[in-house]
Assembly symmetry: C2
Homo-oligomer: 218 residues x 2
């Protein structure tokens, strides 16, 4: 599949590299297509990997991953272009964390709204699916490295888009029964508002390589 | 131990009943000490159970559980009285959920602040510990009914207060290694902001009787 990964940070590079390994044709998009991070990544990852602007990537991909910083996502997607996003599955992995006032970061949107809803409203023809924002990059693409199976929530308005994303998550190593469909895009509020607890748990666990699993009644 | 439970809803009654079963002397406090919920509860629970106003309960208890509705907690604690709370362990179980605009509820405080921090600021001599707000009442006092061990976060400024609460949690059935100390009272932000995700998970699980466990690296 032709996949766009917007964002050249750890999350974008980790997901893009995994997608190339899985045999997809991946275009990593950035604000500056000649930037070092993105050209290095493309050079290191061979034939399936290419680099371009946000607009180049979005127009090339059938599925688009938003791996930009949450506070920059709307402008990155604006640069990608509404026409290139129309009808496509747009996987929103970002968290709207605002580090401008120091640690711990605040959420720049929460409670009555979420980044995913902002994206869906700004790009109504995109089929936005929120997922993977509740774990760090290493766990996203290698959940089997944890000591037990754990759960990954997913939400969005479009059932077939969620199916497409669930298949990619299975390819990443998430067991099908561990992909938890939380329903409509408004569930992104809870998925994003989990981040402050995730940060506190990271302190208790001693590092970011963890996740949670839902424990049900006997 | 003499314990006050403020609040006569499901959470208050469930915790108070469990504490009586464990042999504690429990005073359930309410706004109206002659109210039906609280007098019935005291009558049904025998010698260790008594009923009173918020002020009666707080002055009787060595440990005080805040099980009032989050949006009413500060006024309930005001009625309990700062003098009666001074120096005592104040276990804040409440969530600041605002249902006034319908479902899903909003948090009336979040992101830069939390209910527990508001309580700690309003009653600086109380030793506030946040815990149990991340599970429903049945799981709070019977975590062993779930299919696997699960985790319960705890936070607060006073280490010995957290130890006292951790011992009560163990008496409730929480394994000591599953009581996760998240550090200072500011971690209550994450514990309270988890509620929107908890509500979405409840929909996916099909009921409120669940919890999560942290899955660590292999």
């Amino acid at each position: 599949m032709r996949i766009a990964v917007l964002g050249t940070g750890t999350v974008g590079r980790t997901i893009a590299t995994k997608l190339v390994e899985l045999g997809h044709e991946v275009t990593m998009g950035s604000r500056d297509a000649a930037g070092e991070a993105v050209t290095e990544w493309a050079a290191e990852n061979g034939e399936g990997a290419s680099a371009g602007t946000f607009a180049d990537a979005a127009s090339a991909g059938e599925v688009v991953f938003n791996c930009t910083a949450g506070t920059a996502s709307l402008s990155a997607l604006e640069a990608a272009g509404a026409e290139s996003l129309a009808g496509k599955v747009l996987v929103d992995v970002a968290n709207p964390l605002d580090f401008s006032r120091g640690m711990p970061p605040r959420l720049s949107v929460c409670n009555d709204d979420s980044l995913s809803e902002q994206i869906q409203r700004a790009f109504p023809e995109a089929r936005v699916v929120k997922t993977l924002n509740t774990v760090n990059a290493a766990v996203m693409v290698n959940p089997g490295a944890l000591s037990e199976p754990s759960d990954i929530p997913i939400c969005g308005e479009d059932a077939s888009a969620k199916e497409t994303v669930a298949e990619l998550l299975e390819d990443f190593g998430w067991p099908a029964e561990r992909v938890l469909d939380l329903g409509p895009i408004t569930s992104a509020r809870g998925m994003e508002m989990y981040l402050p607890l995730w940060l506190a748990l990271m302190g208790a666990v001693g590092g970011p390589g963890f996740n949670v699993r839902v424990v049900r009644p006997s």
